[in-house]
């Protein structure tokens, strides 16, 4: 079984596997942790080398594999095991489906959430962010929270889950219902322009140069922990880095635009085509995503378990290790307005194209979101082939 991540991830997966083996002594699972940077390449060489993992962790790139016939469709196994994905995982039960086949079972999930510096908010007399904040509310607060060269209101929206959330809030889409790229629509342009203006027009988000001066590999997550940005939108994992901050903080659901929308993070477990014993592999996945094993994900503070039952449990809402009171209900609240990002087979190329075409925009060299997205649309059209 291959997974990516760091030490916490290793420990958590291992604990869950231990529980599994205790219950089913006939199963043998060897955990292999691979640094995130080299995960895709390593898994590829393992599969190509004929020593692919039986179970592998997948996320947005699930269909990179499934479209190349590398993952075993799980529908029959799901059925014979009597698992109801919708009941167990809610809306994200079908997240990893492609052309009507299930390729992975959700394992970790969780919406992107808003972290805010409570101490600073109280000092400035600003009310905590809510799901009902509009773009204007957010901008006003960011302006209040910014003090030139020292602190910034917001961590930024250059990462796809961040600006895509705004695009979907504004009624846009990256790939439309017909599988065609749709990034040059007015809705997406407006959303990106808003996100870009936060940096270059209003100066409430640090520029890349300002981030680079804060240190190597410092981004919104690290800057928030250091207290230099007051608000940051990211995943659950940032909580682990915030246990010793010098200020008080809490989390909130993402604010809204025309409508509510926010990206979801997470990953699923898939069975590779080369797995010798898919039945056993599925038995393992079934157990790993059951409440007993999923408890561990929150107990170690690794991530949000995908299992809804666990998400609603006391163990999740009030984790034992949490030193301050954090509104964990935010995850449940956000789950009602998650948008489903297009996990297309050309995911990696799409991300590369986005990075290339928007590079100048995020540097402030290209001021017009319209121009940047028109170029991006053209380049996406050459990459993304509508399904079917």
């Amino acid at each position: 079984m291959t997974v990516w991540g760091g030490e916490t991830d290793r420990a958590t997966y291992q604990k869950r596997i231990n529980l599994l083996v205790k219950k089913y002594p006939d199963l043998k699972v060897k955990l292999q942790l691979i640094p995130s940077d080299s995960y895709p390449q390593k898994v590829q060489t393992m599969i190509a080398g004929g020593k692919g993992p039986d179970i592998m962790q997948v996320a947005e790139n699930v269909n990179v594999y499934s479209s190349k016939n590398q993952l075993r469709p799980l529908d029959d196994l799901v059925k014979s095991a009597g698992v109801d994905l919708a009941e167990r995982f809610g809306g994200i039960g079908s997240l990893y489906s492609y052309q009507d086949k299930v390729y992975a079972i959700p394992d970790r999930s969780g919406a992107m959430i808003v972290y805010y510096n409570k101490t600073l908010f109280e000092k400035k007399g600003i009310k905590a962010p809510t799901a009902e904040w509009t773009w204007d509310d957010a901008l006003d607060a960011f302006k209040e929270l910014t003090s030139k060269g020292k602190t910034w209101g917001y961590g930024g929206a250059g990462w796809w889950p961040q600006w895509w959330s705004f695009a979907y809030q504004n009624g846009g889409a990256i790939i439309d219902a017909n599988g065609k790229p749709a990034v040059d629509s007015d809705e997406v342009v407006e959303a990106l322009q808003w996100a870009g203006d936060l940096v270059f027009k209003h100066g409430v988000v640090p520029t890349k140069a300002q981030y680079a001066d804060m240190g190597t590999d410092v981004g919104g997550d690290q800057a928030f922990a250091a207290g230099t940005v007051a608000v940051n939108a990211t995943g659950f994992w940032a909580i682990a880095g915030l246990t010793d901050t010098k200020f008080e903080w809490d989390i909130a659901p993402m604010w809204r635009g025309e409508k509510q929308a926010v990206s979801s993070f997470g990953s699923g477990l898939a069975i590779s085509r080369t797995a010798k014993n898919p039945d056993k592999a599925f038995k393992a996945i079934d157990f790993l995503t059951s409440p007993t094993a999923q408890q561990q994900i929150i107990a170690t503070g690794e991530d949000v378990p995908a299992n809804l039952e666990v998400q609603k449990s006391e163990a999740f809402l009030k984790p034992a290790w949490m030193k301050s009171t954090v509104d964990m209900g935010v995850f449940g609240e956000s789950s009602s307005f998650l948008f489903k990002a297009p996990f297309i087979p050309e995911w990696n190329e799409m991300q590369a194209a986005i990075d290339t075409e928007l590079a100048d925009f995020w540097l402030g060299k290209e001021k017009s979101a319209k121009k940047a997205l028109t170029a991006l649309q053209k380049s996406l059209e050459s990459i993304v082939k509508p399904a079917g």
Partner: protein
């Protein structure tokens, strides 16, 4: 008759002695090369069986892939500056080290050190040094230059790469220095009697005597520069600086992405063959110029 038998025995021994290389060549190089030619004419994702597409990959690369051309352009740009610059600096350093310096072992080690440092460590340090308000820009600030955003500005990131390669210029001193020590002492003695100064002697004796090594370095340097990979991969990590990563994209990292991020193995193979063609052309061009400047001792004898 005895002579020819000896000759034949010698030939047999020759083939026996070089057999490791021959086997290695056939198994690890020629065989893979042939299958690479085949792969370059297929559409292959490394998982499902390859599909024959003929010359499509080459046609697409040459006519409708702007990223490939950009990457190739960046590679030229990088090679055109870093190779000559690295050679000049290497030559200069070697000349310094060739003098009667106390602690030369230490200096040689320090100058060669960059070659021994793992790239992970070197690039980490470089990213700190090249930060927008990092030490390098501070120094530039003292002389009134406001330094660029080395690693963030797509226009400057190439020069950051060149800087990293120049930092390793000391690796060239190994063979230059070795060759300098082979230059006959009498040449310098004669020049000194004629009253030529050290600078003059450097240009009229050392450099001409070294031209074969300089040439060898030039060719090897060109080949290495065209294949630049790890530096790009580590100095501008895709994850944290996606924009500049693509701006600094050179041919081999692009090839690598095609093969391992997008699973276009056939396409990647085609890129590698085009790259080989480019390297070949430039190497042959370099050889064409040798008559004009490379000096062989045999010619004066």
């Amino acid at each position: 008759m005895a002579m020819s038998r000896l000759r034949r025995r010698e030939a047999l021994w020759f083939y026996a002695f070089v057999s490791p290389w021959v086997i290695g060549f056939l198994v690890f190089l020629l065989g893979p090369m042939i299958s690479s030619i085949y792969l370059s004419m297929t559409d292959w994702d490394s998982f499902t069986p390859p599909k024959w597409v003929g010359l499509d990959n080459y046609v697409k690369l040459l006519t409708e892939d702007p990223v490939f051309w950009k990457a190739l352009g960046n590679t030229f740009h990088y090679a055109a500056i870093s190779v000559p610059l690295g050679l000049l600096i290497g030559l200069w350093l070697a000349n310094l080290l060739n003098k009667q310096v106390r602690g030369r072992k230490l200096f040689r080690t320090l100058i060669y050190l960059p070659t021994l440092v793992p790239l992970v460590a070197a690039s980490m340090a470089f990213r700190v040094v090249l930060a927008p308000s990092g030490p390098l820009n501070d120094v530039l600030g003292w002389v009134g230059i406001s330094g660029p955003q080395w690693l963030l500005d797509p226009g400057w990131v190439k020069y950051a790469l060149i800087l990293l390669s120049v930092w390793g210029a000391g690796s060239a001193t190994v063979l230059l220095l070795a060759a300098m020590r082979g230059i006959p002492q009498e040449l310098y003695e004669a020049a000194e009697i004629d009253g030529a100064g050290p600078v003059r002697q450097f240009w009229s004796i050392t450099v001409p005597q070294l031209t074969p090594v300089i040439f060898f370095n030039l060719v090897m340097g060109l080949i290495a520069a065209f294949q630049v990979f790890s530096q790009v991969y580590i100095l501008t990590p895709k994850a944290s600086q996606p924009g500049t990563y693509n701006a600094s994209q050179t041919t081999v990292p692009y090839l690598f992405d095609q093969a391992f991020s997008y699973y276009h193995m056939g396409y990647a193979s085609a890129i590698s063959w085009l790259l080989f063609a480019v390297i070949l052309v430039f190497t042959l061009l370099a050889f064409r110029t040798t008559r004009r400047w490379v000096f062989y001792e045999t010619e004066v004898k």
